[in-house]
């Protein structure tokens, strides 16, 4: 396949030594292995995430995304804009939709953007990396490059919310999306069926309402364990962080003994394509993904 090039919006959590640094590391490795070139959007800013609404309101929030799209259009014309973070993708795509469907919103955003010397045109598609894998490659194509299949690894594909709702991937059901399971299987792993695949982890409310969110997270992990999973894999940095980081807290609160690694699809693909544990950012797991590290090329 010919080289593919995208305009890349990594987002705040995928910066050096930020909370999903391992997502960035593995995304870069995965893209190298898949012959994808990522051209970073220059000087991008935060998307406002789903929690920016209280203080940010509507137009300031949408303007954040307008600036990123404008920068992407200017620096990387003709490319699709691709985000790896679920919230970045959702905020940017939502803002684009509002501006494209509402002339006043678009004009207002552009009036604000003028202060930064930029203009939003709306010429680029805003996509998630999972869409690139599924739509521009496809599962059969992805399977072809596997050098190091993830044999005997039982994985719970945790899709969560924001890559799934309200947009989701084309053709997928909101209640039982299967793209992540298909990626797991294409990499030679075993996708275990379980009933909390699209349950919310609490999102940003894991910070402000920890008890309520940890109850959600407990249900997700419990179900993954009960269905035989040895690892959880997700496309969302906040899902990853919430489900991995709070296992100790949950164990204290509920007397459970959770200790299940939570990784990204990009880490699976990197390992299955012959990358090392370090290429896959596996040294940045709080709960080591030992079985995946063993499979990884030494």
């Amino acid at each position: 396949m010919a080289k593919k090039t995208y305009s890349f919006y990594p987002g705040c959590s995928s910066q050096t030594k930020a909370s999903s640094f391992n997502y960035l590391t593995s995304t870069k490795s995965m893209c190298n292995l898949l012959d994808i070139e990522l051209k970073e959007v220059p000087d991008w800013n935060c998307c406002g995430a789903s929690i920016g609404y209280a203080e940010g309101g509507e137009l300031p929030r949408i303007t954040l995304s307008a600036r990123n799209i404008a920068l992407s259009e200017q620096a990387n014309p003709g490319m699709d804009m691709v985000a790896t973070c679920a919230a970045c993708w959702l905020s940017t795509r939502e803002s684009k939709e509002r501006m494209d469907h509402n002339t006043q919103m678009r004009n207002d955003a552009n009036e604000a953007l003028k202060e930064a010397g930029l203009v939003y045109q709306g010429t680029q598609n805003v996509r998630h990396m999972a869409e690139v894998l599924v739509e521009d490659f496809g599962f059969d194509e992805l399977k072809k490059g596997v050098k190091n299949p993830l044999r005997d690894l039982k994985i719970a594909g945790y899709v969560g919310c924001q890559t799934n709702r309200p947009f989701g991937l084309a053709g997928e059901s909101f209640e039982n999306p299967v793209y992540l399971d298909n990626i797991i299987e294409a990499m030679g792993g075993e996708a275990v069926p379980y009933d909390q695949k699209v349950t919310c982890c609490g999102g940003a409310l894991a910070f402000s309402e920890p008890e309520k969110s940890q109850e959600q997270i407990k249900n997700i992990i419990e179900s993954a364990y009960d269905h035989g999973a040895e690892m959880i894999v997700t496309p969302c940095p906040l899902c990853q962080a919430n489900v991995e980081i709070y296992q100790g807290e949950i164990n204290k609160r509920y007397g459970t003994k959770f200790n299940i690694p939570v990784t990204y699809y990009s880490q699976l693909i990197t390992v299955a394509y012959g990358g090392s544990a370090q290429d896959a950012g596996l040294d940045s797991q709080l709960i080591r993904a030992s079985k995946l590290e063993e499979i990884a090329k030494k």
Binding site: C12, N45, A54, A109, A116, P166
Partner: protein
């Protein structure tokens, strides 16, 4: 005389709240209430909030902590048979209550959401270290130390995993064009305040 028949609060929501013009479309089926992950913690689920708006219960709606329970999971949105953008209406109501200064005192999600926005608005990118410290220290210094100590295994784990950078305190990530970024946000706020003035 006609004021007696006009529901002013519904009109107010339609004009001042993000996506508020959708409220009248709710047909009271309750699917949103049954789809919400934090459903058991809402005093009034979205369906009830919509009916209360139509019944003119301004005070009860805007001082409620209900809409602050929204995790932005969009489950209600994809299941709503009338396609109401419920998540955004909840955000819009929360934002409106926040602007009016009548959100419940000490509402933790209001606090975190405000912290988050001010954090990103400063440099253009989120400073995760400052954000975490801001949460721990919301109830003063000594409680902050206690909170930080309680979470120290998480913090040290993140540090060890190279997913938390102590230097974020002194040399944070951020956009290069800070003046343009700040001017843009200031202008956006001006326009928003003009479009949706607070009486």
């Amino acid at each position: 005389m006609s004021e007696n028949y006009t529901n002013n609060f519904l009109k107010e929501v339609e004009e001042k709240v993000e996506e508020g013009h959708w409220v009248k479309m709710c047909m009271q089926c309750g699917v949103c209430a049954g789809s919400c992950p934090f459903g058991p913690h809402w005093a009034h689920p979205p369906q009830e909030i919509f009916m209360m708006i139509r019944a003119g219960k301004r005070e009860e709606v805007l001082t409620s902590d209900s809409m602050w329970m929204c995790t932005s999971c969009y489950n209600c949105v994809v299941r709503c048979p009338r396609k109401l953008p419920i998540t955004h209406i909840m955000h819009g109501l929360a934002n409106y209550a926040h602007r009016l200064g009548i959100a419940p005192k000490g509402q933790p999600t209001e606090h975190f959401a405000t912290l988050f926005w001010n954090n990103l608005a400063e440099t253009g990118r989120v400073n995760e270290l400052k954000l975490s410290l801001g949460i721990y220290f919301r109830d003063g210094f000594s409680q902050g130390i206690k909170n930080a100590m309680a979470m120290q295994s998480v913090g040290l784990g993140m540090l060890k995993a190279k997913r938390l950078n102590p230097f974020e305190l002194f040399a944070p990530h951020g956009v290069k064009d800070k003046s343009g970024f700040h001017a843009m946000l200031k202008k956006a706020r001006e326009i928003e305040d003009r479009r949706k003035p607070i009486a």
